[in-house]
Structures are given as structure tokens and as C-alpha cells.
Symmetry: C2
Subunit: 488 residues, 2 copies
């Protein structure tokens, strides 16, 4: 116990003696809840395997090393790109190097959208060049570009209240600002503008949309991200301004003079491309056909090198699996590491996995995705069947030495890639990463390897390894979770 | 006094009661040092004009409003550009709006370098697109670009120690990292790489240079800035990588494999352009022919809108002048506000002013330039004749209520624009801005109006107004300063 506390003190600057004592009090007497094969550290009452996993993970920088390697060696990995193909190769090669079993690609057809160039200028009242990027999936403009007067609105709701004449023939600007929160909730509140703003504006006769970046920074690097057009609706070009450029546009609008923009985008769709999910396993010792799925996604947006989104998740999942593989004894069930292809632009990998493994869905004990950056984990959320509710507290006790608490206020949302599994009743757990700064970099050119914090990722690795091991070694199989109707 | 303290408490978050009391103790009994016409606040013993200037400046956001207006309405203002011409127009118009006297342009011929495009990629071992910009003044590459293997070095000194064969035919990468300091001293330590690196490498047979940006951020927005070629030497293209891209290049170099780059720059020189310094005055009541010069520069680099470099300085100087103009009585001497053209790319405006006003140099009581961003002022430095040394402490006592202390450890350096005046013996003062974050944004696309902090600029305005008023109202004329041999 003392040893464990000393190690943690070396790893986490924010921990102190009081926190250490509190954590140890929390875990006291928990031993009986764990699987009967778990050898126990007598003082901490944590399974020795959990103690060992946390010790090993916290002493290493494996997750950050892996994420940095992927970002450096494969580079940007947008759906359909050569970079994504390099990412798949990297995944296969690196999984084998780490000693995973049953390493193989699972073919997935992915879309191929090409960004091209995006030029935007304010023509009047004060000429300025704008830092903007096409939203993923946007059509291009005519070769000569589009000129139009700007009508400003906040979001989809305020757009709907504008008089039709105010929108028709205009370029719509959506100005709502994403709020910074630890859990990233601000993203959910504004991302619909990015996804649906173009079609909503096109329905009212707009000729293009520009949005304030869905991001929390004040850097002139706009945030891209997926958008889609309503089936059968008009398609108009859609671009995102960096936050400082949105501020500039708003200052020009505040002059009271008409504000006229020129936009030129060469974005376009190309034919689909063959890609692959990359799968590797740490086979279980008793129930190898039953699976705890740990995952991240290999693809990224094209502007940066996808270090935090989601090489970090790839690194966390692989490092956690590798730590479990190094234990003296395997857990009962198989840990399956899945590196999904194309999460960002239509979820091709996640959907394909659920189809390919439909027969096996009932064998999935649980699934966890790491896809909220490289920050520390601060909370556990679960989406379990009612009969398995006690497991949440059991896992939380295992995570307590890492400074992680149970958040029972809402169910786990699950990463996007595992949402199709969730829809099949597979139990889902979220390890909530501190995303306070994540949306400064998310989907921008600034998503690069220097943003990775190895110590924070080591803590996250320890958390994923702990949760996965408890789930995998638990004697009982988890019940399927009643599926609440929601969008897949 | 109480009123003054309350006002300051409202303006400066960092100030507290203890600081306020300390400041008041510092200024107690200082009255006799000030000019005899100065009416005194009985408690603080500061001239009532200084108290009023500080009160008025701290209660307003004039400097930030002006800087934001220049950045918004004129946009980027590189030497020779349409934006710079708009900046000159803005300066003339705004000086008149503020009620300055004798507002006029003074013609200056400025160079016109065009950035064009800059593409850079790592070809091998791991293909990556680099965020890089041409350095100001660089030649372009051939149309097909330049391919070359990279030889890495730290700085000019380490380059000189490389074996000649290691450099010849290579692209030289300079990797020295600028350190973050409050006074910006890290800039002086690395900027020579930017200015002279290309010629130093060309002398050894290099085909191009790429440097780590001279900047303190970790954002993928490279820092441009002026460079020049040695007369008669070979000219090779020169570009700056953003810090994250320099990190990436170093990771590829660390692989031990040869690193090959492709560079394509279309930068070029165009014919000179006519521009102008913009001059306006607050005429003195007794000695109007004697001048206290307050200045900033109108031009900026082209990547951002030059909000902190140097619309901030323009705003500080103009707002300080405007505050003095609003006093019930003018100071003895004239406050001359000069907004220099083209500081960034060869100092055309500063050199031209010194030539145009050579006959008047002896009439310049002192000169102060604001050209280190929009941060608070924390120190006063002076370069005065030995007989006038006591004036430094006198001005410092006037600045003490603003939290500014005298730094007698070294002489004032003076802004670049007033260096030609300094060379003529004009006394120089520096109000040292807190530049801790200045070099995160300096010479990048990120130098935009959202980076301006109105409260900090109000404090700086108060400081410039205080120093200028004391210098202008002081009965005695300052002696000329012996010129120490240095580069002009």
C-alpha cells in the first residue's frame, strides 16, 4: 500500500497524502467483490493484478509513445487517404510487435472526400482574408467562387426564426460559441450547427454557410468536422471560420454596413476506397470466445496528424491491452483491441464491425472506447443491465487509486465506434477524460504529437487496463442492456 | 488618494490593498522633484495632471479600441501593401478625429516583398505536410521547387562547426528554441538565425534553410520576420517551420534515417512603393518647438492583422497623446505622435524620420516607442545623459501607482523606429511591457484583435501619458546622450 502510494505520488502532481489516504479508505474491504481467482494485495484489498497493471502503466509512457509513432509515421489519416492506409499498416505492424494474438485487418469500404483549397475573403466593408476550412463533406463552389451578403444568426433555432427574405440569396453565418467544459458537453450543444447548418440554410434559399468553429481556442486554425446534406435537399458549400476570424466578421457586421464575402472551395467527393479495421487480441484463459472490447479509431481529420483524435485513444487501448498481456496470468475472457477505420466521416468502421461480428455480439462482455483525447480520466460512467448495476461501484473501487470517481448521474454514452454494439445491447462503459483543452485542438491543424502528455496518458492507460481486466476476469457474464431508442 | 486606490483596484485584478499602500508610500514626498507648475495632489504628492492622466486612462479603453479599429479596418499592413496604404489613411483620419494638431503624412519610400505561396513536405522517411512560411525577404525557389536532404544544427555558431561536406548541397535546419521570458530577451538570442541564417548556410554551399520559428507557442502557425542576404553572397530560400512542425522534423531526424524535404516558395521582390509616416501633435504651451516623441508603427507582417505588432503600440501612443490633449492645460513642450511606416522590413519609416527631422533632432526632448505588444508595463528603463540621471527616479515615482518600477540594471534599448534618433543623441526611455505571451503571436497569423487586453493597454496608456507629460512639462531641457557605438 505504501509502495503503491509512493508510486502514485511520483506520477501525479495533483495527488497528495490526504488524497492517497482517502483512496485507500475507499478501496478497503472491497476484495470479496472481485472474481475469486484474484490474488489480493492484503492492505489495499485490490486484486494483485489491478495493482500490478496500475504500477506498470504508470511507470511507462507506452500510450504516448504509440500515439506519437502513429502521428509521425502515418501522418494525417482522413477517410480514403493514403495516410489512412499507412495507419492501417502501422496498426497491423505495431500490434504484432506488441505481441497481440490473432492480429488481422477486417475490410471496410470508406468514403473519400477531398478537401481541396478553401479561400475566403471579406470584400466589404473592410477587406480581409479569412482563415477558414471546408467542412468535411461539403461540396465545392463554382470555379469563380461565390459572392454574397452575410446574414448572421446564432444557431439552427434562431435561423428558423429569421424572415425568409433575410436568408434567401445570402451567405448564412452561424455565430454560436462553444463553451469550454471538462466533459466536453459544449461540443454536443453546438455540433448540430456544423452537421446540419448547410441543409437548414439551403432550405431557406441560402447560397452558402460559414460557421464559427466548433472549438474553444482563440487560434487562427479553423476546426473541420463532418457535415451531411439532407436527402433530396439543395446542397450549398459549408465552411468553418477560426474563432478569431468569426470575431473579425462580427466586428465588421457590428459596423452596421453590409458585409459581403467571397468564398472559393474546391472540395469534392471521390470514389470509395477499401480500408480496414485492425483487430488484435489478448486471448482469455477460460472463456476466450467472450470479449471485452477496447478501442480507438485509426483515422483522423486531415488538417493535423490526429495525435489527440485519436492516436491517443489508439495508444491508450493498445497500451492497456499490452499491460494485461504482460500479467503472469491472462484474465478469463479475451481482451480484443480494435482500431477502427473512418470514425470521423460516417462511422464506416464501427458500422462494419457490428455487421461482421453480429453473430458474436452476445459474446461481447462489454465495450470501451477511448476517443476524447489524451487527458487524464476523472470519472467512470456505465450503461449496464439493471441486474449488473453493482459492477459500476466495483470497477470504480478499482479505479479509485487513480483519482477516478463513479458518475452515476447519467449513463455512459459510449464512443461513436461502439454505438452500433450498444444498439445490440452490449454493455458500455465510459472512462471520462478531462477534455478541458481537447476542443482547443480537435479537428484542427494543431492536433499534433506535441499536445500529448505522457503522464496523463499513462494514468488513462492504467484506467482502461483496470476496467478491462475486472470486466474480463469477472466470473459472471454480463446481461444484455435494454436498448433505449436513439439514433444509431 | 483613496479614490485613486479604489479606481486602480477596479482596473487591475492583481492589485491588492497592500500593493496600493506600498505604491502610495513610494510616491509620498516626491512633489518637489516635479516641475514647479505642477499642481499637487496633497496626499500622493503627484502632480494633479499625472493623477488625472492616470485616472482618465485607466477608466477608458481608448488604446484597445484604436488598435482593434486599425486591425479591423486596415487589415494586414506589410511594407508596400494596399493594407499599409489603408493604415496610413486610417492614421491620418483617426488622428484628426482625436483632435491632434498638425496632422500630416511624411512621404517614405518602402520596399515591396510579396510572400506568395510556401509549400513544404517531408518526402522521407515519413511523408508529412509541413506548416511553414517564407521569411520576409526570402527569394523563391525554382518553379519545380527544391528537394534536398536535411542537415540539422542549432544556430549560427554550431553551423560554423559542421564539416563543409555535411552542409554542401543540403537544406540546413536550425533548431534552436526561443525561451519564454517576461522581457522578451529570448528573442534577441535567436533572431540572428532568422536574419542571417540563409547567408551563413549559403556560404557553406547549402541550397535552402528552414528554421524553427522564433516564437514561444506550440501552435501550427509559423512566425515570419525579416531576413536579409549578405551583400555579394549567394541567395538561397529561407522558411520558418511552426514549433510543432520543427518537433515533427526532429522526430523524423531522430529515426536515424535520411530526411528529405521538398520546398516550393514563390516569394519575390516587387518595385518600391510610396508610403508615409503619419504625424500629429499636441502642441506645447511654452516650448512648442521642443518635442517629446511617442510612437508605434503602422505596418505589420502580412500573416495576421498586426493587432499586437503594432496596432497596440499605435493605440498606446495615440491614446496617451489624446489623454494629454484633454488636460485643462497643455504641458510646456509638444507631444508628437508618430506612426511609422515599415518598421518590419528595413526600418524605412524610422530612418526617413531621422533624415527629415535631422535639423530638429536637438529639439527632441526624448523619444518613447511602444512596440512590444499589448501587455502591461512593469518597468521603466532610461538612456539619459549622466547629468539627467535623477530624472529616471522622478518618472519612476510618477509611474509607481501603476505598479511600474525603475530598472536601473541596464540602459533603455529604444524601439527600432527611434534607434536613428538615439544615434543622434536623443534621450530614450523604454516602458517595458510584459512580453511573456507576446512571442506566442508575434509575426504569425494569430496576431489578431482578440489578443488585445483592454485593461492591460489602459495601464500602458497611463504609463506613456505619465512619462510623456513629465518629460514635456519639465522646466529643464534634457542634455544629449553620448552615443555608444552600435549598429544603427
Amino acid at each position: 500500500m505504501a509502495l503503491s502510494c509512493e508510486l502514485r505520488a511520483g506520477e501525479f502532481r495533483s495527488r497528495n497524502l490526504a488524497g492517497c489516504i482517502a483512496a485507500l479508505l475507499l478501496v478497503a474491504g472491497v476484495g470479496e467483490a472481485f472474481g475469486r481467482t484474484a490474488a489480493r494485495s492484503p492492505a489495499a484489498a485490490l486484486p494483485s493484478q489491478v495493482v500490478e497493471l496500475q504500477r506498470a502503466a504508470l511507470a511507462a509512457t507506452t500510450a504516448a509513445d504509440l500515439a506519437r509513432s502513429l502521428a509521425t509515421e502515418a501522418g494525417p489519416r482522413p477517410s480514403g487517404s493514403v495516410g489512412l492506409a499507412r495507419g492501417v499498416e502501422w496498426g497491423l505492424r505495431t500490434m504484432k510487435d506488441l505481441g497481440f494474438e490473432n492480429v488481422h485487418p477486417e475490410p471496410v469500404t470508406v468514403p473519400h472526400w477531398e478537401r481541396g483549397i478553401a479561400d475566403g475573403t471579406i470584400l466589404s466593408p473592410y477587406p480581409q482574408t479569412l482563415a477558414l476550412v471546408a467542412l468535411g463533406g461539403s461540396i465545392g463552389t463554382p470555379e469563380s467562387g461565390i459572392d454574397g451578403d452575410v446574414v448572421a444568426t446564432e444557431n439552427l433555432e434562431s435561423l428558423a426564426k429569421l424572415p425568409p427574405d433575410a436568408v434567401k440569396g445570402h451567405i448564412v453565418y452561424f455565430g454560436e460559441r462553444m463553451l469550454r467544459t471538462r466533459d466536453g458537453a459544449g461540443y454536443g450543444k453546438t455540433v448540430a450547427i456544423r452537421g446540419k447548418g448547410a441543409s437548414a440554410a439551403a432550405d431557406l434559399g441560402a447560397i452558402a454557410v460559414v460557421i464559427r468553429s466548433v472549438g474553444t481556442d482563440s487560434t487562427r486554425l479553423p476546426h473541420t468536422g463532418g457535415m451531411s446534406y439532407k436527402e433530396g435537399g439543395a446542397k450549398i458549400p459549408a465552411a468553418a471560420l477560426s474563432n478569431p476570424d468569426a470575431d473579425l466578421l462580427e466586428r465588421e457586421l457590428a459596423s452596421g454596413k453590409p458585409v459581403r464575402l467571397h468564398l472559393h472551395l474546391t472540395a469534392r467527393m471521390l470514389p470509395d476506397v477499401e480500408s480496414a479495421n485492425v483487430v488484435g487480441e489478448v486471448r482469455g484463459r477460460e472463456l476466450p470466445q467472450e470479449i471485452v472490447l477496447l478501442c480507438g479509431h485509426l483515422d483522423s481529420w486531415d488538417l493535423g496528424t490526429g495525435a489527440i483524435d485519436d492516436a491517443a485513444g489508439v495508444g491508450n487501448a493498445m497500451a492497456a491491452g499490452a499491460a494485461i498481456a504482460k500479467l503472469a496470468e491472462r484474465p478469463r475472457r479475451t481482451i480484443r483491441i480494435v482500431l477502427y477505420t473512418n470514425e470521423e466521416f460516417g462511422l464506416s468502421g464501427g458500422k462494419a464491425y457490428a455487421v461482421t461480428h453480429a453473430d458474436e455480439a452476445a459474446q461481447h462482455q462489454a465495450a470501451l472506447e477511448s476517443d476524447l483525447g489524451s487527458g487524464k480520466v476523472y470519472a467512470l460512467l456505465t450503461a449496464l443491465a439493471p441486474d449488473d448495476g453493482a459492477l459500476a461501484a466495483e470497477i470504480a473501487r478499482g479505479l479509485a487509486p487513480l483519482g477516478i470517481t463513479l458518475d452515476a448521474s447519467k449513463p455512459a454514452a459510449g464512443g461513436a465506434d461502439i454505438s452500433p454494439l450498444k444498439a445490440l445491447g452490449v454493455p458500455i462503459l465510459d472512462l471520462a477524460h478531462d477534455a478541458t483543452s481537447y476542443f482547443d485542438f480537435h479537428h484542427t491543424a494543431n492536433d499534433t504529437a506535441d499536445k500529448l502528455v505522457p503522464g496523463d496518458m499513462a494514468q488513462a492507460t492504467a484506467a482502461y487496463a483496470t476496467a478491462a481486466w475486472i470486466l474480463a476476469d469477472r466470473p459472471a457474464r454480463l446481461a444484455r442492456v435494454p436498448v433505449v431508442a436513439e439514433k444509431p
